[in-house]
Structure formats: C-alpha cells, structure tokens
C-alpha cells in the first residue's frame, strides 16, 4: 500500500514540478498563428453549407484571439526594447500582418454568402469585438 501512495504522490508531484518547468515565453512572432490561419483559409475554400461557414468562423475567432494575445505580448516587449530590437519587432509584425490581411480577404469572400444566417452572423459579431475583448 505504501508503494501505491508513493507512486501516485510522485505522479502528482511530477505533474506540478514539470508544469513549473515550462518555458514562460514562447517565440515572439506570429508564425504559428499565421500557419493556423492559412489552414482556416484553405478550409474556407471548401465551404458547402452554413455549418462549414460557422465552423470556419468559429476557428477564425479562436485564431484571432491568439493573434491578439501574441500582439499584446509583442507590444509589451516592444515598449522596453532598444531601437534596433524595435525595428526587428516591427519588421516581424509587418510581414505577418501582410499574410494575415491576404488570408482574411479570402476567408471573408468565401463566407460572404452565409453572413446573413443567424449562427454565422453571430460568429461575425464576435469577430468584430474579439481584438478588443478581454
């Protein structure tokens, strides 16, 4: 029985310890978010019904939320950065912004026919405020 306690307690302890070991600051660029956005863009080219449109916009909302969080982190770093670092962060952002702009254009066009359907329009309403929400 003692062994059972030791094994289970060690398992919980290791979970806690390893959670503390995770890297707090991931890479400060939007590469991963842009990659996910491109996947959503691809899916948007195959929209066949309102459910597809809803799912694409739902995932877009989640992706834009991730983009917002990353941007706020980038701005935090930007405020304290040296001039050369600032230029680098600006460049990174500009590149990502161009790709995001292009992908959003395609997604917007592909979801346009469904925008008046209630569930889809609700997702669009969320999208309108997601960059400034908590």
């Amino acid at each position: 029985m003692k062994n059972q306690i030791i094994v289970t307690a060690s398992f919980i302890l290791s979970l806690i310890v390893f959670s503390g070991c995770k890297s707090e600051s991931g890479p400060l660029n939007l590469q991963e978010e842009v990659r996910v956005l491109k996947e959503i863009e691809m899916r948007s080219t195959n929209i066949e019904n309102k459910n597809d449109a809803f799912n694409v916009l739902r995932d877009l909302n989640l992706n834009i939320k991730d983009i917002r969080n990353k941007i706020l982190d980038m701005e935090e770093r930007y405020r304290e950065a040296s001039e050369s670092e600032k230029a680098q962060i600006e460049k990174t952002f500009e590149q990502a912004n161009k790709e995001i702009d292009r992908s959003l254009g395609i997604i917007s066009k592909n979801t346009e026919p469904y925008k008046d359907i209630e569930e889809v329009s609700k997702m669009l309403e969320k999208l309108n405020e997601i960059l400034i929400s908590k």
Binding site: I5, E75, I132, K134
Partner: protein, 563 residues
C-alpha cells in the same frame, strides 16, 4: 452555529473573490494572465495554509484558533479596501504591496479558520449517539458554504453598481479592460484592428467603444478623462464590496463567539481534555490510540486525499474549460421559456413553487403545512410568471451564468440526498463513507460522459443547447454531494484525535493540489479534440473511483475502528 459562522465567512470570501481579478485589472491594469497568477497564488494559499492552521489548532485549541482566524481574515479584508478608498495617496507600487500583504493576511486567517471549523463540527458528532448523523450534518454544513457562495457575487455586483450609480455611471464590466488598452499606445493592435476592419465590416476599435459608453453615460469630457474617472469610481465600488466582505466576517465572529455554549464541550484538544478530566477528578474518556493505529489511519486519509485531488481537478473545470465551452460552443440566445432557468428572479420562485407543490401533496404534511405550501406555490408561480411576461421571445445568456447552477443545485439537492441516505439508513442499506466517495467519483465520470457526447453532437450542429451543460452541472453537483461533505465527514471520523485539525487541513491541501491539476489539464484544451479532452477526464475520474474501491477494505476498517 457552524452553519451560519461558515456561511458568513464563505459569503465574505466569495464576495471578495467575485470581483478580485476585475479589481486587479481595473486598479493596476493587469492582463488576464497577470491577474490570474495573483488569483492562483492566493487560492493555493487559501487551501494550503489550513494544514498549518490545523497543526496550530491541534496544540492550541480549535475555538481559539478559529476566532483568531476570523479576526485575522477580517483585518486582511480591511487592508484590501485601502488602495481603492485612499485614491492616489499611495504610489502604484505601494498599493500593490498593500494588496499582497492583505492577501497573505487573508490566507493566514482562512488557514486558521476553515479546516478547524470542520474539525470542530466533526468533534460535535464524536459521541456514539450522534456519530451516525455525522454525514448528514456535514451535508447541511456544506449547504451553508454554498448559500454564502451563491449570494456573494450578487452582493459584490450590487455594491459596485451602487457606487457607480452614485457617480452617474452604469456598470460595464468591459470598461476596465478598455481603459487599460486606452492608457497605453498599441501600434500593432491598432494596425491589426485596421486589417480585420478591411475585410469584416463592423470591427470595433477600443476608442470607439469607450466613446460609445461615454455618450451613453452622458459624460462631458475627453475619452481619457472618462476612462480615468470611471476606473477610479469602479475601484471605490470594488473596495466597498471588500468592506461588505469584512462586515460579513464580523457577523461570522459574532455567531461563533455568541453561540459558544453549543460547541464548548467539543472544543478540546486531546491534551486539554486530559487536563480538564484531571481538574474535575474524573476519568478521561478521550480515545487514545497507539502510534501504529494512528499511522494506519493517516495512511487511509492520505489515500483518500490523493484520490480526491483528482475529483477537484475534474470538478474545477467548471470555472475554467466548461465556461470556455459555454462561451464558444453553446448558443448565446435561448427562448423565453428556457430563460426562466437563467434568471434568478424566475428560477428561485420556480424552485420555491416546486417545493410548495411537494409539501402540498405529501401525505404526512399536516393541514397547516399544506396551506402554507399552497401559498408558497401560488406566490412562486405568480412571481415567476410576472417576470416571464416581461421577457423577449429570445433572451441573451452570459457564459458565466452557468457557474451559478452549482450552488443552486447544492441547496436544492442537499435535502434530497440527505433524505435518500436517511431512507437507506432506516433500511440498513446506507453505504459507508468511502463507498459514497467512490460512487461520487463514478458520478463525476458520468458528468463528463455527457460532455463527451455533447462534443460529438457539436460536429453536426452550429451551437449546442444550454441543457447539455446544465445536465453536466447537475450530475457534477450530485457527485460533489456524494464526495465533498462526505469526505469531510470521513476525515472527521478517521482522523486520530490529536491530529483532527491537521487532517482537515490535509483535505483542503488536496483541494489545493486538485486546483493546480485543473489548470494543468486545462492546458490540453487547445491541444486535443474536445471529445478527447472530456474522455481524459472520464478516464481519470473512473480510475480514481476504481482505486477507491480497490482499497475499500482498508478505508472501511479505518472508519469502523473509529465508531
């Protein structure tokens, strides 16, 4: 006495907690992550320090430790009001230091109070004639916690709204965040808003949003002035809610001290009981145990604590991933009929009416009770109907509202579950406390099975009915009632008398670890499929249940030897 003392303290604690993160964001401009770190650290202290409180009480006495706990927590809540009321007297850095000090003081106070009150309640049922009623007593005690927790958010929000209203403002919970955005330059966010605006009409900028609130509230001045005045006023509102929390501690203290005569006989450590018996020249009846017996019991408790940590891990998904699920995958508009359950003005009268109906038709109810019950039924129905007629055809629901179902279900289900256990006991079929805990783990698994099916169902619909989540909350609450109050009762039964406080502290320590695990598991939310996430919770809780039943003999022997 313990019911009301605990209800007062829990009301105070949850009033503070309901607005704590919002306060940090409004006052210090913290991001959700930064505020979350504070919140997480504070919660860990609240649930872990009872171990220390238990060690102190086992030597110093329970009543005395509890009294000091209430006083210290009261002091902490008073300190917490200082930054909001002092309005710029201290620098921002000093205000933050004051907040940290207050949180430490509150954690210490709660550490001295929480577990030891449970230990004291347990001691009230040590006498053989009362021992069979211990589980039910803890069920009722637990209801006190939840009534306090249920009322608290309404008290906090009312206090904040009142202060804002005096300054001519309306309560708008997104304002602190918007004001924080406005306070700093956001070159990238501004550009990104522009990018989204290019393709999706109606995308809003935070300045536009603040401007809209400013016009709505008739404020004359710039956007910046409005944001500053609003957040200052909001801080005072939050401090007022903290002051209410402090007053609730005074009520708790008055109840605890004023009704001392009802628990005085049980408020003795092993040493104090021995000394008292010597003074009175009688034999000491306190149970003394060999080191071996104590060790056996502590091992049994340790095993339960480990298992229960997994319950809290799953259960505390309610304030975390289940709320995200409500926000992202559940419809945000419901019919006026469904909305009856989402508005307290209608839900509580409906529950009262149902209660009235039950007593009206119960054969054993005397005529007077039947008359009163009919009155309650008619009044409840009339009140609910009068509000119902004011509802639109469809009504909006906020994702946070789902969390209020748990305390409501606790209050409603406690008498039913207590009655069910009584019914079983009369027939000699009441399961032992460890079996109830094991069954509770299986019921928890069932709750997440429902969520798993909802995730499958989501693949074919655009938004889920709220009844999926309501059903899950219902099942999780039944599980909680099988597990949490019964677990506290089990700890009270099994703990060696000289470690009663420490053992209750250990129970709360397991809750602290469960909370940590909840956060860890929650990280998988964005990584795995929805159904996989819920399946993981099903498997972990099922395994915990199987584990409990695999050691049931050890646990039951520990319980039996204490009866």
């Amino acid at each position: 006495m313990a019911f009301f003392a605990n209800m007062g303290e829990r009301f105070s604690y949850y009033t503070m907690l309901a607005i704590f993160v919002l306060y940090l964001q409004a006052r210090f401009g913290f991001s959700a992550g930064e505020a979350g770190d504070f919140y997480g650290g504070f919660l860990f202290g609240i649930y872990f320090l009872p171990i220390l409180g238990g060690i102190i009480a086992d030597r110093w006495g329970y009543g005395r430790t509890i009294t000091w706990g209430i006083l210290i927590a009261f002091l902490g809540k008073i300190i917490l009001t200082v930054p909001g009321y002092s309005q710029g007297f201290f620098s921002n850095q000093w205000e933050l230091i004051i907040i940290i000090i207050s949180l430490i003081v509150i954690s210490l106070g709660t550490g001295l109070f929480k577990g030891n009150l449970q230990a004291l309640v347990g001691k009230l049922y040590d006498a053989p004639e009362f021992a069979p009623k211990r589980d039910n007593a803890f069920n009722i005690f637990y209801m006190g916690i939840n009534i306090g927790a249920f009322l608290a958010p309404y008290a906090a929000t009312s206090a904040v709204k009142h202060v804002l209203g005096r300054n001519g403002f309306l309560y708008e919970n997104s304002m602190p965040h918007l004001a924080n955005l406005q306070a700093k330059a956001h070159p990238f966010l501004d550009q990104m808003i522009g990018t989204v605006q290019n393709h999706f009409n109606g995308t809003v900028h935070y300045i536009d949003k603040i401007e809209a609130f400013k016009s709505q509230m008739g404020f004359n001045g710039t956007v910046s002035e409005f944001a500053n005045t609003y957040t200052s006023s909001l801080s005072v509102g939050y401090s007022t809610a903290f002051a209410i929390a402090a007053v609730a501690m005074v009520v708790s203290l008055l109840v605890f001290v004023g009704f001392k005569k009802y628990y005085k006989h049980a408020d003795l450590t092993v040493k104090q009981a021995k000394e008292k018996a010597e003074r009175e020249g009688r034999e000491d009846t306190t149970v003394t145990m060999s080191k071996e017996e104590e060790k056996k019991r502590m091992i049994a408790l340790g095993l339960v604590f480990i298992t229960v940590a997994f319950f809290w891990m799953a259960f505390h998904q309610n304030g975390f991933t289940l709320t995200i699920f409500a926000r992202d995958f559940t419809v945000s508009k419901v019919s006026s009929l469904s909305y009856l359950f989402f508005d307290l003005r209608t839900f509580i009268p409906i529950l009262a009416a149902i209660g009235g109906l039950v007593f009206m038709f119960r054969k054993s109810s005397p005529v007077r009770t039947k008359l009163i019950s009919s009155g309650v039924f008619i009044a409840g129905t009339a009140i609910a109907y009068s509000f119902y007629t004011g509802f639109d055809k469809t009504m909006n629901i906020e994702p946070e509202i789902f969390q209020s179902f748990n305390p409501i279900f606790i209050v409603v289900l406690t008498p039913i579950i207590v009655g069910f256990f009584n019914w079983l006991r009369v027939r000699g079929k009441e399961p032992s406390s460890p079996r109830k805990i094991g069954v509770g783990m299986f019921i928890t698994a069932l709750g997440f099975v429902v969520m798993m099916f909802s995730a499958f169902h989501l693949q074919s619909v655009t938004g889920l009915s709220p009844y999926w989540l309501i059903s899950t909350y219902f099942i999780l609450t039944v599980a909680e009632l099988f597990l949490s109050p019964i677990g506290i009762s089990f700890v009270a039964k099994v703990a060696p008398p000289r470690f009663s406080g420490l053992a209750q502290g250990g129970w709360l320590g397991a809750t602290a670890i469960g909370n940590l695990l909840a956060g860890l598991v929650g990280r998988l939310w964005d990584i795995v499929e929805l159904w996989q996430f819920f399946l993981l919770l099903v498997v972990l809780t099922l395994l915990s249940g199987v584990f409990i039943f695999s050691i049931i003999r050890i646990l039951e022997n520990a319980t039996k030897s204490s009866e």
